[in-house]
């Protein structure tokens, strides 16, 4: 038996969400007294591959194929399902990021395994295999019991912090031949989003809404993001009127995030907006209107004009950053 984690990389390095998934998977392996194995792209360099040992992988098995460089739900599903059979996996863990959402359900159905789509806890195995997940767009939690022998877990990004040790993993190339008919998509164009930090992975997010009056006023928001090393986000109307790119739109109809810190500037806090951000660990709201609903969901609030508060806050943050280095 083993716990198998699907690893994903970007520019030759494992993604942060992957390190979280490996760490999480290693905890489950310890719970079940079994081996933690990671499936990774065989074209990565050896040092990077074995570095997954730091986060708890005992072994890294690799599969190599040129056409696996791009997400292809069918081909990825094939590779993960085949690998899971070879390593006799009883639990398969994927980060429930965009890739995980494309692949986890297919893997689960192929293996007829129960799936928790968006886990935020380790399994409780005292009575079944019970995992907590956020439901109703962050307004509640549900505990799902997986009833099948093989289990698939999609882990919500940013719900576990990967802690490194100095262990290394053994790396072993696996012989998985992907039949040509398993490749289903041809990539015509790849469009990278403008921000340097991916919104779903970001630990700190600076977000602004219609209170900012116009796209020309986003300089101070981007400045705050740069000072903090944060990603930028926005409310829906702001994306709809093209003040900001759609990829930044968070909420019910946009992206759901759960950063450590969400700073909302000139956003009223409509329920549809909150749906995408209410799982943030700490929320700061800056708004001229002391009645703005967002304050009810916030940890820290400043009633004030963004055009006065934000520049001052940026100076204070710069001062703090300079002192802390």
């Amino acid at each position: 038996m083993s716990v198998l984690i699907f690893a994903e990389s970007n520019n030759g390095k494992f993604k942060k969400s992957t390190l979280e998934a490996v760490y999480y998977g290693s905890k489950i392996a310890a719970q079940l007294n079994t081996e933690c194995i990671t499936l990774a792209d065989g074209s990565l360099d050896a040092a990077e591959l074995s570095s997954l040992g730091k986060f708890g992988a005992a072994k890294v098995v690799t599969v190599k194929h040129d056409n696996l460089q791009h997400l292809d739900a069918k081909a990825y599903t094939y590779v993960i399902a085949e690998t899971s059979k070879k390593v006799n996996a009883s639990v398969i863990v994927l980060s429930y990021n965009v890739t995980g959402k494309a692949v986890a359900a297919n893997v689960a159905a192929k293996l007829k395994a129960g799936l928790v789509a968006g886990a935020i806890s380790l399994p409780d195995t005292t009575n079944g295999f019970v995992i907590k997940k956020s439901v109703f767009s962050g307004k509640a939690f549900a505990y799902f019991n997986i009833k099948t022998a093989t289990k698939v877990i999609g882990l919500t990004p940013n719900s576990f912090q990967a802690i490194a040790t100095d262990a290394t993993a053994i790396v072993e190339a696996l012989d998985v031949n992907v039949p040509a008919d398993q490749f289903s998509v041809i990539v015509k164009e790849t469009i990278k989003s403008s921000g340097t930090i991916s919104l779903t992975e970001a630990e700190l997010v600076v977000s602004a809404g219609r209170g900012l009056k116009g796209p020309e006023n986003w300089g101070m928001i981007e400045e705050m993001a740069t000072i903090l090393g944060a990603a930028t986000a926005c409310s829906r109307p702001v994306a709809d009127i093209h003040w900001r790119p759609h990829g930044e739109h968070v909420g019910q109809t946009g992206i759901t995030i759960r950063p450590n810190l969400y700073i909302a500037i000139g956003i009223s806090g409509a329920i549809q907006h909150l749906a995408g951000v209410n799982q943030s660990k700490t929320i700061v709201v800056i708004n001229t209107d002391k009645e703005a609903p967002f304050f009810k969901a916030a940890d820290y609030g400043i009633v004030g004009d963004a055009f006065e508060v934000v520049p001052k806050l940026n100076e204070a943050l710069k001062k703090y950053k300079a002192a802390s280095h």
Partner: protein, 246 residues
């Protein structure tokens, strides 16, 4: 183009969420139910647009009990040609996907569209499961979809950006914002909806692989600490020392 659109029922976004029976059951009786927004605004409307340009038909399908017929009729009012309700309680994602996959497998649908996720259980799983069960191609989180002959061109979300890909039909595609603009049913549509065919089918033998054992409401925020706009240094201090997030 023969298109099947998977329609689910969800509580209106502003619903207050509560549980009963020792936190094992969602209180659904006072809830305003709507078509899951992604299914209605994006999957259904894009299906109708494709039909309008390429010809064909748009069938809507729901796995649910008789109360769910209201949302199928609403889909008719927006423009779907006919509908299928698989008469079963949708107990888990695999069960639902299996029902739809069983129904669809020998009907020759070129496209099966789903929403990106339901706004109650936020799973994002049904589409992928249908694709795997029927061994057809799958693209998730699509923001644009076009079809020419037997080939679909899809723009979809990717980690760190987006991608434009092509794939062969038949295919399952999960749809999100960008795909189409919501349509409001007009009087003619509402009248026509009453007489459009709605077939009720007995559920296929299947099982649930997961079950919800308990619900929980999040801890209330303990209250927002207000900081004077003239004292932003205090906010920085609190974020560092108290919240420990910077």
């Amino acid at each position: 183009m023969k298109i099947l659109v998977c329609i689910s029922k969800a509580p209106d976004t502003t619903t207050k969420i509560g549980f009963t029976n020792n936190n094992t059951e969602f209180i659904g009786d006072k809830v305003t139910w709507i078509i899951n927004p992604y299914d209605e605004w994006y999957a259904l409307v894009r299906a109708l647009e494709l039909k309008e340009t390429l010809g064909g038909s748009v069938t809507v399908i729901n796995v649910g009990l008789v109360d769910n017929e209201a949302i199928l009729r609403k889909a008719f009012a927006i423009g779907a040609d006919d509908g299928v309700r698989i008469d079963a309680n949708p107990t888990d994602a695999y069960f639902v996907a299996n029902q739809i996959a069983e129904y669809a497998k020998d009907k020759g649908f070129d496209l099966i569209l789903t929403g990106k996720e339901t706004i109650d259980y936020n799973g994002s799983q049904i589409g992928g499961m249908i694709a795997a069960l029927n061994d057809v191609n799958y693209v998730s989180l699509a923001t644009k979809l076009d079809v020419a002959g037997t080939e679909a061109t899809v723009e979809c979300e990717m980690e760190g950006g987006s991608e434009i890909v092509t794939l062969q039909l038949p295919a399952v595609i999960s749809c999100q914002k960008g795909m189409a603009e919501a349509r409001i049913p007009n009087m003619k549509g509402i009248m026509a909806a009453r007489t459009k065919p709605l077939q009720v089918i007995v559920a296929a033998a299947s099982e649930s692989l997961t079950e919800i054992v308990k619900y929980e409401l999040p801890a209330e925020k303990t209250g927002c600490k207000m900081i004077s706009p003239d004292n932003v240094d205090e906010l920085v201090r609190l974020l560092h020392e108290e919240a420990k997030v910077i």
